[in-house]
Symmetry: C2
């Protein structure tokens, strides 16, 4: 009996009108209705929110960053305190990433070899080295419900085919080492598919990772600077390579509603991104009509809620005028309220998608226009 189990509740229809499916994932800290979105709690806190806020916005699972928590406050410290759930006061599900993305994107000095990656801390410049074995040991110490195999992500447009091939093959070897290193029985382990935008490398990577006994399949190296068409094509390649593989599919780093709707249609079950929260802290509020830039002076005189039918902490009490005032005064409450709204919007949008999948109406949902517009129907 694995600690993480995935069940397809409504399979993609045989007519191919969508490849999206409605599912449910069991974890040691509760179940998730999929497709769904995981807010990101980089430093063991989803920025500006506390665990009660997270419940209220509808989060069932969040992501925490192995790289950041390794550097500060340290995984051994968190382990001594009983693990990440207890440390941050969150009794819902948690997934930790492997740190692979951060060590190749945040560190100044970095050198990658077959054994691992040496990098410099973005906090104090100290030098560290991650291997698949250390990444897994850190993640076991953190004690999330799901850990992720250590990989070498390569941004598609920054890499030649040869570079993508080397990184992808290395990711496969590290996948096996991650599996061998992982022993925590109450924690699932997901593998990562790479392969950049090269169809054959992508397909091979999907088949290689799927041949290993992971609990789920992450799709890495996307949600970067590729176009929507390139991303969609890569997802189609992966889906075809995976065939009827029963495990959950997690597209790492994607967070805009329209992009997620497209990815669900191509068979994705899980998402994470800092995007909804980051743009919220900059004063961009997502609404069914698109977005509001609350820094716009017109909102200082707008007594309406940001979104009429939204149940979030911001919309049920405060006006656009009040939020606009808080942003201008740089009051801390602004960032919490805006984050509550955008995460509520995002998670209600995923609920709308799930309803459409259950009702067999995802194609109609996609046809009604932008993902932002259709979110107005989420109840």
């Amino acid at each position: 009996m694995r600690p993480v189990a995935f069940e397809t509740l409504v399979a993609a229809p045989a007519d191919g009108s969508t490849h999206g499916r409605r599912g449910r994932m069991q974890t040691p800290h509760g179940e998730l209705d999929t497709p769904t979105f995981m807010p990101v709690g980089t430093n063991a806190t989803v920025k500006a929110l506390d665990p009660d806020d997270l419940r209220e916005v509808g989060a069932q699972m969040i992501l925490a960053n192995t790289y950041h928590l390794f550097l500060r406050p340290g995984h051994e410290r968190i382990a001594r305190f009983g693990g990440l759930h207890r440390f941050m006061g969150w009794d819902g599900a948690i997934l930790t990433d492997s740190g692979g993305f951060q060590v190749v994107s945040l560190g100044d000095l970095r050198s990658v070899d077959d054994d691992g990656v040496t990098f410099r801390s973005h906090i104090d410049g100290s030098v560290h080295r991650f291997t698949p074995e250390l990444s897994i040991a850190i993640q076991e110490a953190l004690g999330a419900d799901v850990a992720v195999a250590f990989d070498q992500p390569v941004p598609p447009h920054a890499s030649s085919r040869a570079e993508v091939a080397v990184a992808t093959e290395r990711t496969h070897r590290w996948a096996e080492r991650s599996l061998a290193a992982h022993g925590r029985p109450d924690q699932g382990l997901f593998g990562i598919v790479q392969g950049g935008l090269e169809d054959d490398l992508r397909a091979d990577s999907a088949r290689t990772v799927a041949a290993l006994p992971f609990d789920g399949i992450c799709i890495g190296g996307l949600a970067g600077d590729e176009t929507a068409e390139q991303r969609g094509h890569a997802l189609d390649v992966v889906r075809e390579a995976l065939g009827d593989d029963p495990r959950p599919r997690y597209l790492m780093g994607l967070g805009s509603p329209a992009d997620m709707l497209d990815a669900v249609d191509r068979g994705i079950d899980l998402f994470d991104s800092v995007l909804p929260a980051r743009v919220a802290r900059n004063g961009t509020l997502w609404v069914p009509e698109g977005k509001l830039n609350i820094q716009n002076a017109a909102f200082l005189d707008d007594d309406r809620p940001v979104q009429d039918d939204c149940p979030c902490r911001l919309c049920r009490t405060f006006s656009r005028a009040y939020l606009a005032h808080l942003f201008r005064a740089e009051e801390l409450l602004a960032y919490r309220l805006a984050t509550c709204h955008n995460l509520t919007f995002t998670l209600r949008f995923m609920a709308l998608i799930r309803d459409a999948l259950a009702a067999g109406t995802l194609p109609q949902l996609r046809a009604t226009g932008s993902a932002a517009r259709v979110a107005t129907r989420a109840s």
Copy 2:
């Protein structure tokens, strides 16, 4: 029938062992148990908290700043939105100060004459002029439960006796103009006693202000750079001058627990200060034993709550180690949690004082040691 009514529930004892009294103040937005403390919501938000947090920390009344809200977002705007309570989503009581303190302490350019004060905005340098009439008009537009007469505060140590005398007499003329200008029937109006550290000027100011039909008596020009002995003496002078005046007495700007305990003993009913919240945002947590500087590295390994018996949002879920981590990572949640704790501590301390006044044990409470230490007994 006045909109604000004060009742002494337990009078100061005849033996003079304390001059403190237990009271209750009625306002259009609920009643206050006195003595009590008002958290400060400068920009129509108590920094880092929302109204639910304010209720949870035990606040019954908060203070908002007329000067700040006049400059941003503007009192007319707030009036159009139905007033300050609705604008900020707080249905408890609110007191607005007169702006007198801010225009003489925050503005760069300022000139005071008998008619009013001309000052420069600390936000954009624009030039404005406050008169008693404008201060009252702004406060009526904001619609707090209690407004305050416009005054000219003079910091004791920065002023000669002659300067104090001029400012105090001006404050008296402005008190009458404030009363004449005030017409909002659902809003109380408090007058302000000045007089610096000159006993005769203080006593005369107390008698002069008490002769006017205010709903309460503010004591201004203290909680600055005077010593505790000087402040205590000034409070004794005011109390003796007020005699058995039945109205509430509000010492403006004082917020440390030990200082408030001393002032209660000298007959004060109301306090406000940014202090508990400001030090919280700097990582200083008030506890019965004194204070914790959470930036101290030792707390990174301290799994205990900040205060064992504290019911606040911080202490009931999180460890010192987690808070220390949040501060080091400069996570926004740190400021909210620390503020919740210090305001809970402060308001529980006032509840402890009220219990002691009701039980006739305030002298014993004062004798047990520092105000911080005794707070541990607050239930």
